[in-house]
């Protein structure tokens, strides 16, 4: 045991040393903006970028939208975090989206944006993203770039391998990162092996509305499930999940979860699971979780759901198999043809590639190498298609260009390595600055990648930008992959951690973008359709102000009769029916945020006056020449 430990510590030190050396010398190799790079990323004023890129905000809990190739930031979409700029999570309409069984949680750790797909190709309808910390999945509507739905995942201890989609967005998946007692109970942590379990959840997506609904869960051995991809083409009907800590260690995982030479990729036959559920197999387990969504009136609703159908993997032969995969696999990616499943091992010195057809043959021949907690382990030699040898250090994630090449990010050696599918030989490599995690090729996980660029999503930037104290920006790097040699074109800073990103051609989204909400379709119960309907109504200690905004006044703009201790709800309807003309609303001493009301929308903010006086309110979104005059007063009596 001690010998093992010293080997690991020595080799880690060696890796760090190599990393330091690499960073030290690579700086001299590259001078930014060389050759024709500026022309390749220049998007002239008034013209558009070719791609929308959706980047996760990591620990900011949000999604940011960039244009490629320019790297210009267009918008930050609040998802799991409150955003005072847009009143998301502050307005009464949007607060319900952040409800969970643990209460109102205005933060999460958002990692993997996933664009909806039809026939394995991006369709530009929705964007899904996971909340790692308090297991959740959110859906963003790409006609409005607004979060419209969140669903909590029960029986989960951290939602990392999520929300990877099946090829027609039939399901989004959610796999447990941390195994925990399921159902939860008070047990010693050292009883991990007996008591801890994992789940893999399949959430059905309504193909017309996008509405999510937890269809079933699969109970799996208690290890860490990391990343996932769905099969496609020949492997349609299967999903693959990388996993680690097959040691089932419960302390000092850094060392104790790195002992086994091989961990697993779990292959899950979700088509079979679907059939089993249809046959009434599995058990209905008690569970409580929130499902929040914007309803037809554009008002957030929270429903507490109960119960979930659970299939225990070991009771249903053929449902789950383990593919042995070298040392702590992290990434798990499927190539455009659907035949190859590529693993990335944080500590591995090669990239193992599994073959789906070999997997099928091995299952038919029962080429098993024993079982793990009731799940059959397939023989490594029987399922492996090839290994990319000496790719660099710390291979993590792979995306594809659609031309027969894989591109793998190398965390420890800070580089991207390009290799050929089939021959498994490395054909090119390029340094990244620094510590790349995920990488992204537009459509790089689909049946037909758009190629063109690979974006490196880097964890640290060190000396790449002007310093901003101890905390520096994280960054993305745009690399041209159209030629034989990869070429760095552009660096740009990102919001939070650019954990993963997805991109699609702008044409898939641009023309469907909503310009305003038709006022006649505004069914918010507190909406007013014309200025003449503006009014103030008292109901006990609650005051409802039905307010309208239009360039450049509020109605009413003089409000009297409010008392200290009242709850005042400002229901503000923006009567404008014009593109890009929102109005804002804020009142002095407000303890939450402003409102941002899009044209035709109604948004409500709660204000609780604490002292008597006459308090001003005003429009916060510069709307016209008389924006400064857009103001009013509310009189508060004791």
């Amino acid at each position: 045991m001690n010998a093992y430990r010293s080997i690991i510590i020595t080799s880690s030190a060696l890796l760090l040393l190599m990393l330091a050396t690499f960073v030290g010398c690579s700086k001299k190799q590259e001078v930014g903006g060389v050759g024709d790079a500026p022309a390749k990323v220049y998007v002239a004023p008034g013209t558009y970028d070719e791609f929308y890129a959706f980047m996760s905000g990591g620990f900011s809990g949000q999604v940011s939208v960039y244009g490629l190739p320019s790297g210009r930031l267009f918008r930050v979409i609040p998802v799991f975090g409150q955003d005072p700029e847009k009143a998301y999570g502050y307005s009464e309409e949007t607060k319900p989206l952040l409800n969970t069984t643990h209460g109102f949680i205005p933060w999460d750790d958002a990692h993997h944006p996933q664009l909806s797909v039809t026939d394995g190709q991006t369709d530009g309808r929705w964007l899904f993203i996971n909340g790692n910390n308090t297991p959740r999945i959110a859906r963003i509507d790409l006609t409005t770039f607004e979060t419209v739905e969140t669903i909590e995942i029960p029986n989960s201890g951290g939602n990392h391998g999520s929300p990877y989609l099946t090829p027609n967005t039939e399901y989004v998946v959610a796999s447990t990162r941390f195994s925990v007692p399921i159902p939860q109970k008070d047990v010693p942590i050292s009883s991990y092996k007996e008591n801890f379990k994992g789940t893999i959840s399949y959430i059905k997506v309504d193909s017309a509305t996008g509405r999510m609904n937890l269809a079933f869960q699969i109970l799996v051995p208690g290890i860490n499930y990391d990343l996932s991809r769905a099969g496609k083409g020949p492997s349609y009907g299967w999903s693959f999940f990388s996993s680690y800590n097959s040691e089932q260690a419960n302390t000092q995982l850094e060392v104790n979860a790195s002992q086994n030479d091989k961990d697993f990729i779990a292959a899950v036959n979700w088509k079979l699971a679907e059939e089993l559920v249809a046959q009434g197999k599995g058990e209905q387990w008690p569970a409580s979780y929130y499902h929040n969504y914007m309803d037809a009136a554009d008002v957030g609703k929270s429903e507490v759901m109960s119960g979930v159908r659970v299939l225990n993997a070991k009771e249903h032969p053929g449902l789950v198999y383990y593919l042995p995969t070298p040392k702590s696999p992290h990434g798990c990616d499927v190539d455009p043809s659907g035949e190859y499943i590529v693993a990335g091992g944080k500590l591995a010195a090669l990239i193992p590639v599994h073959s789906f057809s070999k997997l099928q043959r091995a299952i038919a021949n029962k080429d098993f190498d024993g079982e793990y907690d009731g799940i059959p382990i397939l023989k490594y030699e029987s399922v492996i298609a090839g290994e990319v040898k000496e790719p660099g250090l710390g291979p993590l994630h792979t995306e594809f260009d659609g031309l027969g090449y894989g591109y793998t990010s190398m965390f420890l050696s800070s580089e991207i390595v390009k290799w050929k599918i089939g021959t498994w030989e490395v054909v090119d490599r390029i340094p990244t600055y620094y510590s790349i995690g995920h990488l992204m090729i537009p459509g790089g996980d689909t049946k037909q990648p758009y190629g063109k660029y690979v974006v490196a999503l880097n964890k640290i930037t060190k000396d790449r930008y002007l310093p901003t104290g101890p905390e520096l920006t994280q960054s993305a790097q745009l690399i041209d992959i159209t030629g034989d040699k990869m070429k760095l074109l552009l660096d740009f800073p990102t919001i939070g951690e650019p954990h993963y990103a997805q991109a699609c051609p702008a044409t898939l989204i641009k023309d469907k973008s909503k310009r305003w909400y038709p006022i006649e379709e505004n069914h918010n119960p507190y909406a007013i359709k014309a200025e003449g309907d503006a009014r103030v109504e008292r109901d006990g200690k609650t005051v409802h102000v039905y307010m309208s905004t239009i360039r450049t006044h509020f109605a009413p703009d003089n409000i009297e009769g409010v008392k200290v201790g009242d709850k005042v709800y400002f229901h503000v309807t923006n009567l404008e029916q014009d593109w890009d003309v929102p109005h804002g609303f804020s009142v002095m001493g407000s303890t939450n945020s402003e409102l941002l009301i899009l044209p035709g929308q109604t948004r409500t903010i709660l204000w609780e006056p604490k002292q008597a006086g006459v308090i001003p309110f005003y429009c916060t979104d510069f709307c016209s020449a008389l924006h400064q005059e857009m103001q009013g007063w509310i009189r508060v009596s004791s």
Partner: protein, 185 residues
């Protein structure tokens, strides 16, 4: 042919300003007034209230109720004229057509005049010496930050086309009648 005027706008007023790259304008149809794009009328009214101009409410413009009847009259008459095939009747029809068109344009001018001059003085916030907010009857004019361009729409061109055909027939008839006369001489 004139019946096509029901399916296309007679007149169009387009407003150009840097803030409206997507276009903004009004279409005057025989029996209605509407935006060139969905929401345009609402946008124009919102902008207008801001400088004290009246709200355009298509349902309260009497001309839009009268015009279809007038046009139907002109059409019926036109058919009658065609049936009789008499030149004097055609002359009469053309004169009526001119009168109707003139009345229409005068009315349009008066409407524009009232619309552009008869401001709610309490709201006429931006005043530029010598400038009224009256849109042009035909042609282009600068109105504050907008360039207003007023031109016949497809329906208008059809009406002009109908009139031109009528006129050509009239001219041709005149020549034909004159010819036998010269022959006889």
């Amino acid at each position: 042919m004139l019946s096509f005027t029901y399916f296309f706008p007679l007149w169009e007023i387009t407003l150009e300003a840097p803030q409206y790259p997507e276009g903004l304008g009004l279409e005057i149809w025989i029996n209605q007034m509407q935006g060139q794009h969905p929401g345009d009328l609402n946008k124009i009214n919102n902008l207008n209230h801001y400088i004290g101009m009246k709200t355009i409410k298509p349902e309260s413009i009497p001309e839009l109720k009268i015009m279809p009847w007038v046009m139907r009259g002109v059409m019926l008459l036109g058919l009658l004229v065609a049936a009789t095939g008499r030149r004097s009747w055609l002359t009469f029809w053309l004169l009526i057509f001119i009168a109707v068109a003139a009345a229409g344009l005068v009315d349009f001018y008066l409407w524009g005049y009232d619309y552009g001059h008869n401001l709610d003085t309490e709201h006429a916030i931006i005043k530029v010496p010598g400038m009224s907010y009256q849109p042009p009857v035909i042609g282009a004019k600068k109105l504050l930050n907008f360039r207003a361009i007023s031109l016949p729409g497809i329906g208008g061109w059809i009406a002009i086309g109908s009139f031109t055909i009528g006129l050509l027939v009239w001219l041709w008839e005149m020549r034909r009648q004159r010819k036998p006369a010269t022959n006889a001489a």
